[in-house]
Symmetry: C2
Subunit: 183 residues, 2 copies
């Protein structure tokens, strides 16, 4: 059935990669990289192009540059979205990619997939106004609206499987060791 | 001394906000939002413009749209960076904004702030090749190169204080509850 649906995901390549990487764990070690440069105030630009994977240097087909800043309500120039909003971009896009991949694998034709993400954030933490308030999100909610050739139950199962395999969902819901150094 | 340095951060506004929000915790409750739309394959576009804070609806001065996709090595079209790379953009920009803010507050003139971020990622997790491998990053490393009117020790203290107050550093190093629903 999966060959008759057209979601645009090459699931066979992913299934093949899974089998190959089972026997070649060193090829599965990826390093994603970003380079950031302070502009002025709290405005910075971050560039992404190269990464490492499958045992060698890789490159995206083009360089991507992202502006981050604070909005006017924080007395800044709003030259880009805030850093924490980038986490919502990553979460929404990761879960959406997962929905498309799982749908392809299960032979479900998607017509549209939309989602909204809301991150609740008590900014007293980052301002140092209350040491009992954490710096990050209090919690995050993602709501999908999906039109597909499938039952409500099958669509819910799609989303659940996407969540189970999502890199960004894991990175936000479980702790990761982050080391910060000065060169 | 802080009035003589020009890093472009309005620290007084932030210090004033801290005092005001100590007595008005409801105004400190922000909601950051993103809307995402599946395009084709694992390509999606995510839009950010509006958020809630200081008790009312707020808007960024312009709408920002972000493409996410998988690279050619995952048999995709590479129409944007991968979802997990967006976490690196958020981390670098958050820590950089913090360095600028703390420097302004401490009267340290910055000349340049650059950073590189590396996220190590064993992709056997997301591919389902090994259930003992997590989906997210194994670990992340940030390296700052800072040119400023300050000693190495003062620069290291700047970075340490930025880390201590960083929303994104907290969101990656500590767990957050994320709910995913189908409308």
């Amino acid at each position: 059935m999966s060959t008759t649906v057209v979601n645009g995901v090459n699931v066979q390549a992913l299934l093949d990669a899974r089998e190959v990487l089972k026997g070649a764990p060193e090829a599965a070690q990826f390093v994603w990289r970003a380079s950031s440069k302070w502009q002025k105030g709290v405005h910075s630009t971050t560039t992404i192009q190269n990464f490492f994977g499958l045992g060698e240097e890789q490159t995206h087909k083009s360089e991507s540059v992202f502006d981050a800043d604070h909005p006017a309500v924080f007395a800044a120039e709003d030259n880009g979205i805030t850093p924490i909003e980038y986490l919502l971009v990553g979460l929404a896009s990761c879960l959406t990619a997962g929905v498309a991949s799982v749908a392809q694998n299960r032979g479900i034709q998607l017509r549209s997939v939309e989602s909204t993400v809301e991150g609740n954030h008590d900014i007293r933490g980052i301002l140092g106004a209350d040491s009992d308030v954490r710096n990050g999100f209090n919690d995050v909610k993602v709501t999908f609206t999906i039109d597909a050739d499938a039952s409500k139950e099958d669509i819910e199962a799609l989303v659940a499987q996407s969540q189970k395999r999502s890199a960004v969902f894991d990175a936000l819901t479980n702790p990761t060791n982050v080391t910060v150094e000065v060169a």
